[in-house]
């Protein structure tokens, strides 16, 4: 060891121990800072207030509605008419004189319920409930008030609520309500009812083998159309689920993403040449283009959406243009960076064979940047499919619009679930499609 090296040891020792002290401090300070920030956010976001405002009962409604539906059996207490309808909607109404198989119509309407209970709508306008594990109760209308007779010797159970002109019962799997104007039973069942065919379609309620038989060899139900075509038509025009409109909306969303991304690529590519230092001779132009790209990216998609929807009105074109403008900025930046990073030798080689400028670009430059450009385009196509959903919600087009509309009603959660599944599947399909194209064209 030389003298110089020996004299350097204390210095080295000092340096190392100083670095250690720094590290120790940082190891404590960073988590402490994050914790302090989170504590600040805890109060800034008013989390204690949130707990009090949260509506957990909504969660039960939402989760239940995601995968179940309810059927209303309603008697109009004035006319005595009994109607069954899915979700209580007009589109889900059973034709007069028909009902689900757990309802038997007649002088007395008998409604069989899943826990073994039975509800009877009697001829005189009163109702009799035989509730499993409890007993029989009766209620009748007396003018504008409802008289309730519980089984003798029982107290009012907690699942029953009563006021002067309303009695309602909630038994989980089913509910009952009586008011002077109507008597109603709601029964919850699992599934998305009428998903394929609505009640007015002749194909409703048939099993899969039956449908296959009908489609393949059995005689036509509708003389004008082959059965398979009629099935497709009934499915496509399903009034409850509106598959046709939903498919169009989904297509619109993908279209927005496609037009926006590809349009941005087409505009950004030539501009990128003028913004790349090794191609553009004019410095001023280069500077101006770079600022333009920064501006396009900085004015966020939200602002573009607001401005464009004033000019073009709601619809997919507006959404596509908003995506196009933002992405032109992004692509301009990344493409010009890719162009600056190319290997000049290849261009020189092409030049040495006597190629002119356009040929140099085509054979010297494009092959080098094509993989970068293609993978950028594909990546953004996938990510924009998702953005297009959000932008659609703002500009009023595509699946985003349907989603927000369904959420705002606060009761069509099964439709929200359906649209969500569609969006997720579409985005995943775009993801694997772009992955496939990338593997096929870039890695060879």
């Amino acid at each position: 060891m030389t003298a110089a090296a020996i004299s350097a040891v204390p210095d080295l020792h000092q340096m190392v121990s100083r670095k250690f002290r720094h590290r120790k401090w940082r190891a404590i300070a960073a988590p402490a800072l994050i914790a302090a920030y989170l504590a600040y956010v805890f109060f800034a976001f008013d989390l204690p207030g949130l707990m009090s405002r949260a509506r957990p009962e909504n969660a039960a409604i939402l989760l239940g509605d995601f995968w179940s539906y309810k059927t209303h059996v309603t008697r109009d207490n004035r006319s005595g008419e009994v109607v069954s309808a899915i979700e209580g909607e007009r589109k889900g109404e059973y034709p007069p004189g028909q009902a689900p198989d757990w309802v038997s119509l007649g002088e007395v309407t008998r409604i069989a319920l899943p826990d073994g209970s039975e509800v009877l709508f009697l001829e005189d306008g009163s109702a009799r409930l035989d509730i499993a594990g409890y007993g029989v109760m009766a209620m009748a209308l007396a003018g504008r008030t409802i008289e309730l007779n519980l089984p003798p010797g029982t107290d009012k159970p907690e699942w029953l609520s009563q006021s002067k002109n309303r009695v309602s019962i909630n038994r989980g799997g089913w509910r009952f309500a009586m008011t002077p104007s109507k008597t109603e039973v709601f029964r919850y069942q699992i599934g998305w009812e009428l998903f394929f065919f609505t009640l007015d379609s002749p194909f409703h309620g048939r099993s899969l083998p039956e449908l296959a038989a009908l489609a393949l060899w059995q005689p036509r139900l509708d003389p004008a159309l082959p059965n398979a075509a009629a099935m497709a038509r009934d499915f496509w025009t399903n009034a409850m689920w509106r598959h046709g409109e939903v498919a169009w909306a989904m297509f619109e969303t993908v279209l927005m993403a496609f037009l926006g991304t590809m349009g941005a690529g087409l505009i950004a590519l030539p501009l990128a040449f003028f913004a790349a230092s090794n191609f553009a001779p004019a410095r001023a132009l280069r500077f101006a283009l770079r600022r333009l790209f920064d501006f396009l990216r900085g004015v966020d998609g939200l602002i573009w959406t607001v401005i464009l929807s004033r000019a073009f009105g709601p619809g997919p074109m507006t959404g596509a243009l908003a995506i196009l403008l933002t992405d032109t900025g992004t692509f301009g930046k990344t493409f010009s960076e890719a162009l600056e990073n190319i290997d000049a030798k290849q261009v020189e080689g092409v030049q040495s064979t006597g190629a002119h400028a356009v040929q140099q670009m085509r054979f010297g430059v494009i092959p080098q940047v094509a993989p970068v450009i293609l993978s950028q385009l594909l990546y953004y196509l996938e990510s924009n499919t998702r953005s297009a959903t959000v932008i659609g919600a703002l500009v009023g087009g595509g699946i985003g619009l349907l989603l927000t509309q369904a959420i705002i009603t606060q009761k069509d959660w099964e439709e929200v679930c359906y649209y969500m599944v569609l969006v997720v599947l579409t985005v995943m399909a775009m993801d694997s499609l772009s992955g496939w194209i990338r593997r096929r064209f870039i890695k060879g």
Binding site: R53, V299, D300, A311, G315, M317, T318, L394, G400
Partner: protein
């Protein structure tokens, strides 16, 4: 000699044929692409409320309108800037917290779904699918559902963005972790380190620069997302923008102030994070 010449000529002919075929395919693809673009454009135009060509000359009407109003009331602008700074901070807070939580969850999911590092190797496909689904659900859907459950405010937006961030960062994190050297992990395993210790001391130091760089990029994206979610009703500057727009004329100076604040914030954050990322990835001296 003639035989060789003939072979050469044959070769040349087949090469030229190959080139012609390639060009034909390329041309056909290009034509198909152009056709798709044109018909897509036409279709989108037909389904839009206003047409493209009608709207094109009106594109500057709205900016001109708001800017001329803001120009007349320019004295209001400084006051408006100050007024909207709290909501801007809320928007930034939403983005920061959701990036933080999203990145933490993404780190865990990424390590669990990386081949060779996972705690339960058989479960990797499950964690991958989980991240795919988290990535695919648009933030707006989660935000709107949570607004229904929790009421308005920043928390629904925060959770929604964090959820999406977890999926998006998880994929990038796991790609970075895949390229990490496994020797330190083996060394740690040989001295009896547990899974968490192996990851903390063996993998994290290697991937930290890349991961932080991705997280910063995500923070930029999340600022934009949180502004948009404010627009559909969960606090921050987007909500102020919506109210100002609904008010319409007379409030356009507020609209301009919000546009300017949002624009400046995005530009500044982009710039800072650009520099920080260059330093993180290329080393201390690069920036």
């Amino acid at each position: 000699m003639t035989l060789a010449n003939a072979a050469l000529a044959n070769e040349t002919a087949s090469y030229l044929a190959h080139v012609r075929r390639k060009r034909l395919y390329g041309g056909a693809l290009l034509a198909l692409f152009a056709l798709l673009m044109l018909s897509g454009f036409k279709l989108a135009n037909d389904r839009n409320a206003g047409g493209f060509w009608d709207g094109l000359h009106r594109i500057f009407d709205f900016p001109a309108e708001i800017f001329s109003e803001a120009f007349v009331n320019w004295r209001n602008l400084p006051g408006l800037f100050v007024k909207f700074v709290p909501s801007l901070i809320e928007t930034l807070n939403i983005a920061a917290v959701s990036t933080l939580f999203g990145a933490l969850a993404a780190a865990a999911l990424a390590l669990l779904s990386t081949r060779g590092l996972s705690l339960w190797p058989r479960m990797t496909p499950l964690f991958r699918r989980m991240m795919d689904v988290m990535r695919a659900i648009p933030e707006i859907v989660i935000a709107l559902v949570l607004i229904f459950l929790l009421g308005g405010g920043p928390v629904p937006a925060m959770i929604a963005i964090a959820f999406h961030t977890t999926g998006a960062l998880g994929k990038l994190f796991s790609e970075a972790a895949e390229n990490a050297d496994t020797k330190p992990v083996e060394g740690l395993a040989s001295v009896g380190a547990g899974w968490a210790q192996r990851m903390w001391f063996g993998i994290l130091p290697q991937v930290a620069p890349n991961w932080s760089s991705y997280a910063l990029l995500r923070f930029e994206i999340n600022i934009r997302a949180s502004a948009i979610l404010g627009f559909v009703g969960s606090g921050g500057i987007g909500y102020d923008l919506k109210t100002a727009l609904q008010w319409g004329q007379g409030k356009y100076d507020a609209v301009v102030a919000i546009f300017a604040l949002l624009f400046l914030t995005i530009m500044i954050v982009d710039h800072i994070s650009d520099r920080a990322r260059a330093r993180l990835v290329k080393g201390e001296r690069a920036a």
